[in-house]
Symmetry: C2
Subunit: 306 residues, 2 copies
Amino acid sequence: MTTTLVFGHKSPDTDSTGSPLIWAWYLSHTGTPAEARLLGEPNTEARFVAERWGFDLPPVIEDVEAGQPVWIVDTNNPAELPPSINAADIRGIVDHHKLTGGIETKTPIDITVRPLACTATILFDLMGAEASHMPEGIKGLILSCILSDTLEFRSPTTTPMDRGLAEQLAGELGVDIPSFAAEMFAAKSDVSSFSEAELLRMDSKEYAVGGTELRVSVLETTAPKMVLDRKDALMAAMPGVAAEDGAHEVLLFVVDILNEEATLLVPNERVKAIAEASFGVTVTGDSVVLPGVMSRKKQIIPVLKA
Amino acid sequence: MTTTLVFGHKSPDTDSTGSPLIWAWYLSHTGTPAEARLLGEPNTEARFVAERWGFDLPPVIEDVEAGQPVWIVDTNNPAELPPSINAADIRGIVDHHKLTGGIETKTPIDITVRPLACTATILFDLMGAEASHMPEGIKGLILSCILSDTLEFRSPTTTPMDRGLAEQLAGELGVDIPSFAAEMFAAKSDVSSFSEAELLRMDSKEYAVGGTELRVSVLETTAPKMVLDRKDALMAAMPGVAAEDGAHEVLLFVVDILNEEATLLVPNERVKAIAEASFGVTVTGDSVVLPGVMSRKKQIIPVLKA
């Protein structure tokens, strides 16, 4: 039987690294041999999490063969998937993002999208009674994905189902959530080795807002000063990144996890206009603080006006 | 609270009439006031089923208001939905068709697609423990939707889950499946009151196959002679229907439920070429019998070659 490949989105974060490993375990456990893949180098938090729970990082792939059986987790957006995705044999999709359109299948497949904080929460739910067979490493991955996507339950995307599952798994694993989450966030915050262009693309999604193509980038960190000290260099790198990626502007939101606020860099008049129209703020300098803003999905994308 | 509207696809059959009634019951039962709507006049089987289980036919709507909360059942294809669907507040989608693409949402919503024969089977599964509160009429609708979509378990789309649920509900309701299914199919087969153009559009979906736009129409009947006696008039009506609907050809498959075969009408050389390339048959006259072909989704669409 051909091995089924499971992958998340490009620029893999913890959920898009952990969820393929989780679902590949479940598929294999229930009789469908499956392996996880990555669509790019994972971020520093995802590396920390994989190592913490004893997993090798899955191999990175550039594309998929025609007819290759695949499961897609943590995205439904073809722009975040391999170029030949619609030629693959897509067996299923599990996701928690808005419906983008663009993926087409030849026959009906399994699709589950839920407005939960984390894909791994949905995967656990889909496992049903089989979840009782999860090894410790899989439980640890689910816990890590939830803590990452909810920013330790601070993000408004957090649902009682995400939180309840994380607390249950932490109890079973004997993990202290505050100290483990602090370790994860410290790993994510260590961005010293990345160039400005890499930081702008690390956790980034493209959206068209009324004809304007925006690369909406987020850096979640417990050490915002480390990023904001590089503000001038980051803004200087924006026009090049935008031009290369076919976007009009890069919006960089530096999310301060502990203080629960985001700082948006404002390199020019167009971004200033977007910031003021979208968030109801007055911008006076080259950045603006947005109190309480933690979630791109819930607090940024739905309000963006260009 | 604004009432949520639940609807299926245009040209409603039994599943697209029953499933909105079933899901509107469930949503209302669980605290979200909801009502069913239809996107056109239902077929004769759907009318029979609604009356049999004591439901008024839902009102027919032409479009939805911007911001209207809606659930979509039994389709994910914008071509089969109201023109303003993407301006509505889509709360969820439950379906069992291939992913078409084209529906977009602003935030993550509930989406469940499963490769089962019938949407109503998925709805029952989603109800979980609440299903124990279903009144008789809702159970009857689910049973009817399954018998309709599986052609009383004859269609290759039938899964053990569809069949098991139908048999369980029939037992609870004291319904004899063979005789009830015969009544349903007799209602569906009584097409004497419809014009040729209406028959060609009654259960019809548009597909693009390599640049050729096809209107793929199916008539499921226990009385194929009644339709095939009108073969010449049906073929004469095809060019007009195709032109009006922006299609190159109309493919009409007359599905003989009891003998488990389909007859495809062959009005011209292009349809002959499509039939021979797709089904591996040799066409000698103006129709061709396709033994065992019962399901557009499973046995027609995946093999069509233009």
